[in-house]
Subunit: 349 residues, 2 copies
């Protein structure tokens, strides 16, 4: 049994795994394809995180610093695993930088890919400058100013369209991306904090602010911030004669067509399976589930087992997932790997 | 540092923690107030679990057996922690059976309490025999027969009312119970499997089959099993002149009053904070959040920390939670505790 855990991906999941494995005195090799650690919250410059309200750069930044200053963690940035040989207890990975890494267990914390709104062309992204994504608004919030990209004005009216690239069979995305409703409610409140006079609307199919997010985000956003929720089926986003954007659809509560003008239209983009998943499946010899996320073998007595013995998978590599759950999965996988290093890996039941 | 972890609660969360801690070669003392292990899925005799489709008695039963046959785990059944002295690294717990337990870290896996439908009297539970809860229907499915309690007949029409004891400010439950939508869609399909001629309706506010549950439960239940979903605001459940139950409310999609007869009305009951939480808070010296769930101190670099150093909290003790997440939390807390036993506990940041 090789006393090292190989972790692939340094987003919240992988960072959490690394800290967990190290906390038990075991060595980690952390491989991240990007040049910086932190995953989507850092790379996409998210604003304040759900549900802590901490800035992403502080919260995830602390996770990064902890791992970067950990003598038990060796980090390879801008690198991928090119080949994996061996079996549970003694894997040998060859990295794209030609390093060879021996590891007793392997963690896939390879995350997701943001949905590309270009694939929903009738909703105006790519056609109109003032149709943006939640990621772009996160960056505006992080930079302290909400503005229409076309001319820099503060928008008088903003709408957030939920389920862009989610719950949409027409474009091959059957799944729900789980956290966009809550993130959008949070973002709507952040917009109001920066631009109190701006009216903010959220167009939804179902509001999925599950658990304790219900009053913290859904109710609070309505009662304290006057965010307006409209249950609607959106048909298209066009431009009116006065140059403002027009959101056209049907209000499904009153069964009436609606055409409403906005200055800024925000796509609440969903979580796709990581575009690299076919390659990851091949290199690591693990299965994918039908949507293209990495598959799991078991739920109860061999949690986070992938379909290959000694390789674990968690976080948004498994399914659309929120950051708190990713961190939980990361620690849980750390426990599985530390358990394997203590005693031979159990077969994935 | 005492090389033992004290775990309070032997549901999916606590069982998962126990297996995790033991996998690293550390000792566990597991204290469960009931006489049997397994928590709600075993005590309430759940049927097939979401999302694995495995029977609760098999899936959670395997988790119980693994812990019961583990020489590193000492189990106290029918016992509670009466007092806790000491600090992180060296706690001394006095159990209700007068045992003293020394532990380096403490895990609160104390779970939730099912909402008692008696607290929603206008919806007929306690008044009409054929108004039951999802828990009772789980037991019918586990026993292989769907029947009206009043006379044993197979119901021709069943409705499941979502959000009973959830998202209901009038009765002091502001939160969403997270998993009832998905569990109810699953249960509706199980009813159809046992009674194919029965019509099954689900009355909802928002359907929250998040992530990959969307097509696996929401779409499949409609397309393969013809479950009918009605967005409605329910006013009351009464009895009609022919003796059948009448569900009265407003269809919020067509804005029309609806009065529909059913043979069996099912309350999809929510998850309350554990009724013991005030006592738990006192004995363990931990804080509760505003709804009465146990509070957490941090989300990122000290995950699952309660407000007291060396004590961790996870699963449905923190918030309404699904079983997979509870198991994940359990392993994650195991990692925290194993880390503490390896090196002194970090202050909850």
């Amino acid at each position: 049994m090789i006393d090292t855990v190989l972790i692939v991906g340094a987003g919240p999941t992988g960072l959490s795994t690394a800290a967990g494995v190290s906390s038990a005195g075991r060595k980690v090799v952390l491989v991240e394809k990007e040049k910086v650690l932190g995953g989507a919250p850092i790379l996409s410059r998210y604003a304040k995180l759900v549900p802590s309200g901490e800035w992403a750069k502080d919260a995830i930044g602390r996770m990064v610093k902890r791992v970067e200053s950990d003598a038990r963690v060796t980090i390879h940035r801008g690198a991928k695993v090119a080949r994996l040989a061996g079996d549970a207890g003694d894997f040998t990975a060859t990295l794209s930088d030609c390093t060879e890494v021996r590891a007793g267990a392997v963690i896939l914390a390879t995350g997701f890919t943001h949905f590309d709104s270009i694939n929903k062309p009738e909703w105006g992204f790519g056609t109109f400058e003032d149709v943006v994504t939640t990621t772009q608004v996160e960056q505006m919030v992080a930079a302290g100013k909400i503005a229409c990209p076309s001319d820099g004005r503060t928008p008088a009216r903003v709408c957030i369209l939920l389920c862009v690239g989610s719950r949409d069979r027409q474009i091959g995305r059957e799944w729900c991306s789980k956290i966009c409703c809550t993130v959008s409610a949070n973002l709507a409140m952040e917009i109001k904090e920066l631009a109190p006079k701006t009216d903010v609307y959220i167009y939804y199919m179902d509001i999925r602010t599950f658990g304790l997010y219900e009053d913290k985000y859904y109710w609070r956003s309505q009662e304290e911030f006057r965010i307006k929720y409209v249950k609607a089926r959106i048909a298209e986003v066009t431009r009116g004669p006065d140059g403002r954007l027009l959101v056209k659809g049907e209000d499904t509560l009153v069964k009436r067509p609606i055409v409403i003008p906005f200055d800024l239209v925000v796509h609440a983009i969903g979580m796709d399976p990581n575009l690299d998943n076919p390659e990851i499946a091949k290199v690591f010899g693990v299965g994918l589930e039908k949507h293209g996320f990495i598959d799991r073998a078991e739920h109860y007595t061999s949690s986070f087992a992938s379909t290959r013995r000694g390789i674990y998978v968690g976080g948004a590599a498994l399914a659309p997932e929120d950051i708190d759950s990713c961190i939980s999965h990361g620690l849980a996988m750390a426990m599985r790997a530390v358990g394997d290093l203590h005693a031979p890996a159990q077969a994935a039941a």
